[in-house]
Symmetry: C2
Subunit: 421 residues, 2 copies
């Protein structure tokens, strides 16, 4: 990628981000002082870091009042890897409180705007990362994704969002929400950028219990877009049957047509055990219980976080063991169903979300994460790519989910679809 013009980007952020609010902290001095010369493909490229990921010397708030003044004393390993590859950190991006929600309207921190349309949410929880990339402030931004928090803002902001296979990217130094479901991912202007960044981010970390070495020969970048001929692409029946905005359904059908015309085989597939609503609810309950276990002091302190956030954690904390066990059964069934579906096809294709961005203040649709949660539950790689809406309105987004560690195939097909549209 082309090295970024850092002073120009900083000037644009200074001039334009007041109206957007994608950055909560800009590290002007640090960015201007960065002098990497790795000769790698991302040398000198600007990046934003979600505000739940530690960057030494900057605050890590996670959008939680109690964490407002916490300053990281070291880089998270994933940040260290980015720096070592020559990436230039411009600052910390806005997010939904505690990464638990998808509007990035965070009391006490700010309401982040969608750069594509004033008054609209960028999605979340990595909303600032999506907005910063969409506004052209950075070509890359780190996000985290527990049920869709990288892919939803990518969808609402019309950019690329890539959530890797579980264990591939360390979560050390990242404020945890649910270790079972948390992933670090990347929002990017291009598939190539996302793949290049992920190759830098991936790496074993003994400090993160779920971290595992990438398999030998693992890559995310592809030399060229996929050739869809002969690919067997599964369309999950539960998604086809789900309510979605007409423009979203049209986008999915257009993508299918392009792929079919190029020789791919599109097949409806059952994902046994994946009930969109029940799986989402089970995931949410587990997240709330895990977050409560990890952040017990936030729950009962009225100053620590918003009443809504605290109530969610209290709900998870107080759910009884039998309810949590049932949620675990649900998640195990959905995971097994995803693996079984991918025994029968090469990749899954579906919309990223059932709707496009909506206005701030509108109640968030309960089903926002219904299509994204599966990849977290199953630990599979998933990418969101923008798809211009047939009605000329805000962009739609298409999601591809692959088998574990097939980031290269997932990115290659995403690249092909971006070009095909």
């Amino acid at each position: 990628m082309t090295p970024s013009d850092i002073p120009a980007l900083l000037a644009r952020i200074a001039a334009e981000d007041g109206a957007i609010g994608s950055f909560w902290q800009v590290d002007r001095d640090g960015a201007l002082a960065a002098r990497a010369a790795t000769a790698g493909p991302l040398d000198g490229v600007a990046i934003g870091i979600k505000d739940n990921v530690d960057v030494a010397g900057l605050r890590t708030t996670a959008g939680i009042a109690a964490f407002r003044h916490r300053v990281a004393d070291r880089d998270a390993p994933v940040v260290r890897r980015l720096r070592d590859a020559g990436l230039v950190i411009l600052g910390k991006t806005a997010m939904h409180e505690g990464a638990l929600g998808a509007t990035t309207d965070t009391p006490g921190f700010g309401r982040c705007m969608n750069p594509l349309r004033a008054g609209y949410t960028p999605g979340g929880s990595s909303g600032g990362s999506g907005a910063a990339v969409a506004a052209g402030f950075v070509p890359l931004a780190i996000g985290t994704d527990t049920m869709g928090s990288v892919r939803l803002p990518a969808a609402y902001c019309g950019v690329i969002g890539l959530k890797p296979t579980s264990g591939l990217v360390s979560r050390t130094g990242v404020v945890p929400l649910s270790p079972r479901l948390d992933h670090v991912g990347i929002l990017a202007a291009t598939v190539e950028g996302a793949a290049l960044a992920l190759e830098v981010m991936a790496g074993d970390d003994p400090e993160d219990p779920d971290s595992r070495p990438a398999p030998p020969g693992w890559r995310a970048l592809t030399a060229q877009p996929a050739n869809p001929r002969g690919l067997r692409i599964g369309l999950p029946e539960a998604v086809l049957a789900a309510p979605m905005e007409p423009a979203i359904r049209t986008a999915l059908e257009e993508a299918q047509t392009r792929l079919r015309d190029a020789g791919a085989l599109l097949v409806p597939v059952a994902v046994p055990g994946w009930d969109l609503t029940a799986t989402r609810r089970a995931g949410l309950l587990l997240i709330e219980a895990e977050a409560a276990a990890l952040h017990p002091t936030l729950v009962d302190d009225p100053e620590a976080a918003t009443p809504g956030f605290r109530a969610a954690l209290a709900y998870g904390r107080d759910a009884n063991g039998a309810r949590i066990a049932k949620a675990l059964f649900r998640l195990a069934e959905a995971r097994a169903g995803a693996l079984r579906a991918l025994d029968q096809c090469d990749l899954l294709l579906m919309p990223t979300a059932p709707q496009r961005a909506f206005t701030h203040g509108t109640p968030a649709p309960v089903d926002q994460a219904d299509f994204t949660a599966l990849a977290n539950v199953a630990g599979l790689p998933a990418i969101a790519l923008p798809w211009a809406a047939a009605d000329g309105g805000l962009p739609c987004s298409i999601q591809i989910v692959g088998r574990a560690h097939t980031e290269q195939a997932v990115c290659a097909l995403a690249d092909w679809l971006v070009r095909a549209r």
Copy 2:
């Protein structure tokens, strides 16, 4: 294997099992009528089935009062596979109530005796399976293993106990305790028998969400015992530091000496995140919560089960979400630690249990499953093999744990050790 003399075995059971109590039901007519002729290696071989596994037409009680009269209307898939391979089912074996405990002293069903010494427990929860094999009533018996329930009775009864990789053997038709940790395994007189039986038992089952096809080329049987030369065998540091009976420590040292003399490299390894007590407690809490979720009607009905069993399930049911989440973190850490340890060595070697069989009526040691639980938590194959005690008393037992789907290597080394002793 040699086909069994079914009438002779039935006669022995009729004459001798009154004092042992290893069978709760003997299917004399079914066994005598069995006329398989598959020409496979297990054709005509007698087998016992633990009483929590469905055999069509026989009761499946799981040792729970409320289930006393439940008759299975079809074979569990694993039983069907055994039948199809020509194995002859002699009946249903005794077990600890609900598979939650390791003495097989089950109120209302009977106290199973260790055939090696009167008045001693055979271990559990698959105590009847261990006793039936040790008594020579059957060369093979199915067990289930959630934290060690195949390997502990194997250890106490001086036989082989093999718990396979997660997902390899279907649990459909098996009374569940904890879907997260339950495994179906095999107790056997020889390593060869266990391996042959496991090859028959293994098979994908879409009805069991955690079932997965075995990898291509997967085997359990080996053409010959392992050659230990060059093998890197890890000794978990936490086990080396744990209290254990002197005879058990001597047995472990003898096994190490044999292996070292044969050219193996014995190395202490850290299993980060595996705290014996904390992992066992976390596993137990999860089991209790899962069992409560699956068997809600047992908890509050005084007639349904013993007060102790019901109290355990009530404890899991009533634990709050934050406690269950912390237990899940513990288990995830131990699992990750086991995988990491096996990145550094080929196999793990340790005793199966910290002690040998003890007398019925003695309080069960709390640490019985401390060495066995790891393989359940991590989903790894593990085998228990008998090791004659240096003091001439009851046998000790050595456990080998391997990487996922390395049953063949695990069995090969077990076979070598059995012969080396």
